[in-house]
Symmetry: D2
Subunit: 492 residues, 4 copies
């Protein structure tokens, strides 16, 4: 139903698909999971789900909408009893959005139930699905994640954790997966470490989640990142204690975390790969001020994404930081399909020019990234109409030119600004700015880790900038071999 | 959610689980299916679903509530394009009611999608489920029907219809199943013919449905009953013509249709097993007048179930038929959990005494059946309070004493009136009537087919009266062998 | 919103606008009012409202939909505390349906609040409204009933009951009005006694309601009818006792109750004007059998309206009564605007022919009344298609030829069957029946009161048959004088 | 219903009641009004309403929730045809929240309909209401605004604009009112000019609205402020042109605009009283830095209210501005009544500490105002837990110590921080900060207008700081004389 769709005003941003959270052995498991998911809401606003286990039965709540719309309701939490839970927030990349695709997914195994919450994407998902269907598996959802469930269900191993490890081994791509069985909370991160996953602790009980901000909200302690290619298995023992062990594939390549977590996805207060995101973004702004200096009167961020970089730019350049653009936080849900009358007002529904702060000023406009450039055009025009004398656009990351296959929603590549215009001047012309500059790839690397890119062994995943994919792209290579679905379109 | 639950005012009735409808090769497939399901609404009021196929994609609509609440909406029908459709109305026997259990169910097979709509119950369903889970199948719903899907998906046969036949052969119990593939509409009826299934035709296009009233509403022609143990496969050929062929197991036992279709389930205007239900019920009333005559002033039905039998009783006895009880048709949906204040008014929410028609009268009160007797107690009391001089209760079927395992929702057997009181006088005393009589089993058989029960080869399924189950009860016999589910309780 | 509208499948019937219920001094006031309204639901299915007073505050609940959809919910009743309540069920005659028009209406007076529930229509309502607006009154609703509130508010009298009597004296037309003040329940019936209103008692506490069936459901005792032109004032004294007194205009004309209450509106088990409605309708059928005998095999009612008359016809003629038409009770709410595909199936959504009961039979089809005849056409055609050899239509009331102005929703008069065709044969031809006969006006009068119509002083209101209006028609006469509203169309 | 309530996470803020918008003679009137209200959403998030007039009928849409949730839906706008419209966003100060209180309110006058949208509060509202009820007026809502309607309806003047002026003359307090008649858009501002109201123009068509940001969003031009005590009447002439004239009471006192518009209410990009709000707030921060300097490492705002002042403080002091607190924008609607488990997490649902930016730092924490201080306590504690070495709180306005009666929702005065603690050190101790300072009243005045407070003729309304009320407080003075309402509590 259309009223279940969320605004896509950030349509000119890349989008993360999901966030995950799990906790084992805590009496407030579901409430803590709800809070954790609330802190991860920026990773997916379309739907949220929680599965708990109370020692006898698994319980699931899945709802379209924000965590805070449903899961803090006492009645909702009462339907999620038990001391262990996993949860998931979702941003849908596909045209189809339906409750049956909302995670966590669940399967009844011979040895008991298992629930799965998954962030990321498998580059061999469709290939695996084809084999599974040929083997008699029934796929109920269009979600890639269901493939994991089938691999677990079909594993010849006896214990649920052995089955999980067996299944994980068949996956390629970028992922962070949490699994909940009757006694265990299991966490797995892809061999390349593309998607983030951290481990924390509250009252001595283990927690896994996508970002540290989900630990902070509940006062939990950050322990460490789950390593690339690692599977961590926490088990609730009969005596109430927790045992933990870790399995790691011998042949694991070095970690290459996704750079876009730093550029845009992660919350500024999170610690990702051991680095504070806000500080990294300020570095990006500072490096940008160095690489692409500009004579201007004010540094103005495109809020909220560009704000930390703008602060960094302002501090490095000594030019004052000003709120030249005001963001309207009351963007409703049904703005997604406004009338043509309304649509024409475009970006103003979300952003307005703070006329007095920019009139007759030379504005240095800082944003975190440019995808298609459509929003940038409107913002530059809005600033000019509000009286800005000059608008110099500075982007705190390189040009995006290649699609992602690891869980980021990228538009068709020929719609990317970098592919529509071959030169910086032509891009600048399209944007309508007086000048346009991007942070260099090395500038970005240095902002994150203090070193330029090691082209032999790049420290991070950066294919959207470089085309250098860190894993094989099985489905893409064998596109004709992939099972064509007579997909069930469903109202639910 | 509580507002999704439907009134259980007929809680003192047995309930059918479902009704099915399917049509192949007609441009108005979904609209006709909606109308057919509307005519079958008495077989299940809790939820309804339709799956259509448009030559490229399958489309599904599933909704809690009445067919007429949703499926006549142009937007809903527009979401169900294509010239072939199957539909289902559902009455839930289980405590759990969730959209994911609403049929038709769908699976993506190697050879294309298949949708299944199912009325009835498998007596070996849990046993099959155990084997399937051991083989790595993932069961998403708690519906028995999902087992059929898995058997089809795992069949080694190539074509969907061969797979279907293969799957059906493994089922025991009572069922009528419709399947929709990309080119075929397939209908199957259980070997004993417990559940009804008829074949009809509109504009030369085949239709299968639970009762003939679903043919009448769309002006379709009744062709014949699907026979017990028969699988009928209709295929839409590339030239638009329909080819039909039938497969029947060699070893099929004689048909034994469920007697309760005549007693209560089927609509009075339906033709079931070649007999008009209304006429059979009038016969039941007439036979009852003969077996259990009564000196009285008026014959009063418990509406609407007892009305045809009361007309039969009145015509046979020459005692006037009168509407001594008025039924309130405006029983809302949330009456299910009324306050105690309201609950105390009990049966009056649905029935009221027509004082003038019964005051100072000797009332012969006719009902179709008695399950627990709780409603009968209230109705007899209501009539007495309204001034009836005598109340003689006459039941147009035998005592119900045994549970059903073929798709009828029966209360725990120790709650059945026949098991709570060992003698007719003690039952009569409980009901509060001046006299109480049941139609004999032979009387019922004669009303239906003109012959008494052939105890060697009973013509019908009658275990609720006799304990004579027409099939093995695999799950019940091997109860310890059955997989214990750590069932996922879900809000959706 | 369209989904709040109810089916108009009885669009070929006349419709009553409303039902009212009030009780004073009973601890379960709101629950009893909810039950009473449930019993009166046939008088209005579109919306229901209850106002209670708890000694300090008035409380209101107003909901679109059926009483049983909302008011039996413990939460809803908990919002209606106090020992006194009035309630209202509504059928809207106007195109606009909005919550703000749902009754009871409420006003804050100088002497305290007052709530009004009203059934009927004022023939000088628009004229009064014009005067009120000229005097500075603000009309919030389009409801005629608001006029009463304003007259009360503007009365120069001090006490709320004196104000009420003062207001009532200015009204013309047909009405039954209940008012609730902080200590009183007041009931008033129009001088001609067109609309019905009865008084009952439960546990010594007074009740007023439209029909006795609302007393029966709660086990209350019928006391008497409120007389035409009478105002009954019941007051809850500080000691908890009830004092009652009655005021009656000296110049009151004889009562002329609306005949259509007997023909169609009232529930068959109600006592209206001292006569059981079911018995009256059977008389109508018997008289019809006498006036318009017919050679036939079966007497078949158009359910449910025609059923009592058909039983009367069958008993008088000795021809068997048969359920030749089965009514589908599961007519959903959104059938109101079905697709054209669905609409074409028309009457079959609600009625189906019981083929076996009518095939090759000469059917005597009995209905209570004919308005436009459009449904009759479809039913006759349906019976013929189902195999009826002959269809003889017998209508248990005279032809309807004139509009109503007292609270009955009548179509435009040129759409009435009696005005579209000038002769009985041409009507019969349109209906498609083999013969068509109406009960005579005298036959109807005799069925009701045993006497033919006294043309000098007709015993009942019968203008829809005769054009003889029992009151002046002020608004209609002064149509140009009436205030033209720039009506506020509102989504709520 | 609880789901209609909005989060009160800003419960430690003062709240404005409403925002208004109106436009005359523009073909996109309703769409432009929806956009304007969207820009004014910060003035009221609970409900929104629009009334349009299409030359024949008035049309109303009123909805709980955000503007963007409803009014950009093409269907909603289609229900608001016509070239003139007024709209309203509402924040409810009363316990009762019901649709019937949502504005604009409407009345049918003798000379045609009129719709009213109102921001503010009448200090003689209850007194006027008492007189109106004594005069026979019916009050349907509990809204103060209804009083205006009644005064208009009862005015002896003929034209709607004369009636409006007549009504306005009887009001005391602070208000901005828009009225829409069949040909006119009328705007009025209270004699003291407490509430803001500006006039703009688009395509030559007049617009009135609460703040200039509502002009900016639609690209309209700011003309001037409506003056205190002025009534501006714009009329759409038959030839399509607009005539405008203004009426101003001769005895008008000097304007005293509400200071809190600058402190917190108005959007930073608005021009209020000719001054850019963002600049004023930066001035407040700069003055604060001067008045209450502090040795610190970082200046951290409490977002979003404290951000402009923090920027001003940072620029004035040379101490770096840092985002030490991250705001979670995904605060759902039902967080209002969270479980106790959840509630305990309190402020973290909305704010989280950006650990890396503040660890081991001396933090200068800047907020716009303190009401009860409860949120400040939690934020200071959160910063300390996150590692801040010192927390120095700086408030960019004086202490709030007195209630408001002009449309601002103030808590009971004994709950105000300034009244609970008598000395700054004791307040600081309660807050838990290392130091606490407030901007002086003169410091605030200077930030706004460059001058200290003129105590003889204060330039602004500032009673919440000073107790100096700019108007008589009629209702408050005559509290015993005020009509006690037996208020109708209603679900709608």
């Amino acid at each position: 139903m259309s009223d279940l769709h969320f605004p896509r005003f950030d349509e000119d941003k890349l989008h993360e698909e999901c966030g995950v959270f799990g906790i084992l052995g805590h009496k407030d498991a579901a409430a803590l999971t709800a809070l954790g998911l609330h802190a991860l809401q920026h990773r997916g606003q379309e739907a949220a789900g929680i599965v708990s286990y109370d020692g006898a039965l698994f319980h699931a709540e899945k709802q379209m909408g924000l965590v805070g719309d449903h899961y803090t309701d006492p009645a909702a939490l009462a339907r999620l009893p038990g001391a262990m839970a996993v949860g998931h927030v979702r941003y849908s990349t596909t045209g189809e959005m339906a409750l049956r695709n909302v995670q966590p997914l669940f399967a009844e195994l011979e040895v008991g139930g298992i629930a799965i919450a998954h962030n990321g994407n498998f580059t061999n998902g469709l290939t695996l699905r084809k084999t599974l269907i040929a083997g008699g598996a029934i796929c109920q959802s269009t979600s890639d994640s269901e493939v994991v469930l089938h691999l677990i269900a079909r594993s010849q191993h006896r214990s649920s954790s052995d089955r999980f490890v067996d299944a994980i081994a068949q996956l390629e791509g970028g992922y962070a997966i949490l699994a909940l069985t009757r006694t265990k909370l299991i966490a797995a991160r892809d061999p390349t470490g593309i998607r983030p996953l951290v481990m924390g602790e509250l009252d001595g009980r283990p927690i896994f989640c996508s970002e540290t901000c989900a630990l902070d909200i509940i006062g939990a302690k950050y322990i460490r990142d789950v390593e690339n290619g690692e599977v961590v298995i926490c088990e609730l023992e009969p005596d109430g204690s927790i045992s933990t062990h870790s399995i790691r594939a011998a042949t694991c390549a070095p970690e290459r975390l996704c750079l876009f977590e730093y550029v845009y996805f992660a919350r500024p207060d999170s610690i990702v790969g051991g680095r504070n995101v806000y500080s990294v973004r300020k570095n990006m702004g500072a490096n940008l001020a160095e690489e692409a200096p500009c004579t201007g009167d004010v540094v103005v961020p495109v809020p909220d994404g560009g704000t930390p970089a703008a602060i960094g730019y302002a501090q490095a350049s000594g030019i004052p930081f000003e709120l030249g653009i005001i963001r309207n936080h009351y963007v409703g849900r049904t703005f997604i399909e406004p009338t043509q009358q309304i649509r024409a007002f475009g970006v103003k529904l979300k952003h307005s020019a703070n006329r007095s702060a920019i009139r007759d000023k030379r504005v240095i406009l800082v944003d975190d990234s440019i995808v298609r450039g459509t929003t940038s055009v409107k913002i530059v025009r809005m600033l000019r109409e509000a009286g800005a004398r000059e608008v110099h656009m500075r982007i705190a990351s390189p040009m995006i030119a290649y699609p992602d296959f690891y869980g980021i929603d990228t538009p068709e590549t020929d719609k990317l600004l970098a592919n529509r215009y071959s030169t910086l001047p032509s891009m600048c012309d399209y944007i309508g700015a007086d000048s346009l500059e991007f942070l260099s790839l090395d500038g970005l690397y240095r902002a994150v880790c203090g070193q330029p890119r090691d082209s032999a062994n790049p420290q991070f995943t950066d294919h959207y900038f470089t085309g250098d994919y860190p894993t094989p792209l099985c489905d893409r290579t064998n596109i004709d071999n992939v099972h064509k679905l007579s997909v069930l379109r469903s109202s639910r």
